[in-house]
Subunit: 165 residues, 2 copies
DNA sequence: TATTGTTATACTCTATAACTATA
DNA sequence: TATAGTTATAGAGTATAACAATA
């Protein structure tokens, strides 16, 4: 099979790159509960941006019940702790432990190598451009000229918005 | 929660954009078996690049057993047909039907709107750059300067290569 | 009344194993 | 012996529903 027509499809390219990334992380992040998602939880726990489990779950694109299991696993390995939120006794604040910080550093280094591998076909400047564009899309920082978006307003309304903390 | 540190992570951005894409396709591709993956099968069936189910499965990043179920659904709706490969009687060649061509046109138009929505934060030129970079990564067209890739050769060796037809 | 977090349960998706038919 | 495709089965991941505690 030569390069098929489906290669022109944005959804296919996005999926192929994402699968490649996930596959490469498996080889390198096998010990960390939740894989790359666990790494993302550790980042949020370190920076104190995980002010509630639901908010974090929405940022990571999973259900809050999944977040419970994921944090259970990380806590069992002593990487994070659940602390009661002083301002809302229903909520739990995630804090990273010393062991968690060490594992986070390891995982970040390992993921750096994975990114080098995934982005290998690109030059240095291209990699930076791609990172910026993806970040812009993921955080949905709006471009000035938004007129072309009118036709898809109905799609946008069906989606959950990422909530503030 | 303000924009958290995890937003700087490539894996997170990739996942967030991909989830956003999949979610948007649900709203617009609900009738098509397999959703965007079904659309990708239709493209391959139309272009005759689906010379065997396994080869197609590997391009779409799924197991060959999943491909069987997916094609079953598409065939049941009369969108594709399985034809015996004259050169290898074990293999099946996918061909698109007239109804399949019509559905493919609809789906392609719908996905165009989805892409407009997903890419809304970017300007016209940025969108083209992103498409090119993702396509390059997905097809792994190697960049001239590949020296930086040495450290991750071990990761590459653990991955399945996309096979020729 | 709504929300956070948890648990138990069910569902969806995907992979594994075993088989037939070809090569 | 290896591969294409199918089927049945098992597993991973995820979501749904119900609950207690709190807002």
């Amino acid at each position: 099979m030569t390069t098929p027509a489906v290669a022109a499809d944005l959804g296919w390219a996005l999926g192929a790159v994402y699968r490649g990334y996930l596959k490469a992380t498996e080889a390198v992040l096998s010990g960390l509960p939740g894989g790359p998602r666990g790494h993302q939880v550790l980042i949020a726990a370190r920076d104190g941006t995980a002010c509630s489990q639901v908010a974090l779950a929405q940022w990571l694109g999973v259900d809050r019940t999944v977040m419970t299991y994921l944090i259970d696993d990380l806590e069992r390995e002593g990487l994070v702790e659940r602390r009661p939120d002083p301002t809302d006794r229903r909520a739990r604040r995630l804090v990273i432990t010393e062991a968690g910080n060490a594992r986070l550093a390891e995982a970040t280094a390992a993921l750096g190598r994975v990114e080098d591998h995934v982005l290998a076909p690109l030059g240095e400047s291209e990699r930076e451009v791609l990172r910026d564009l993806l970040r812009k899309l993921a955080t949905r920082q709006e471009h000035e000229d938004e007129s072309a978006c009118a036709v898809v307003k109905d799609i946008a309304e069906m989606e959950d918005r990422i909530p503030p903390c």
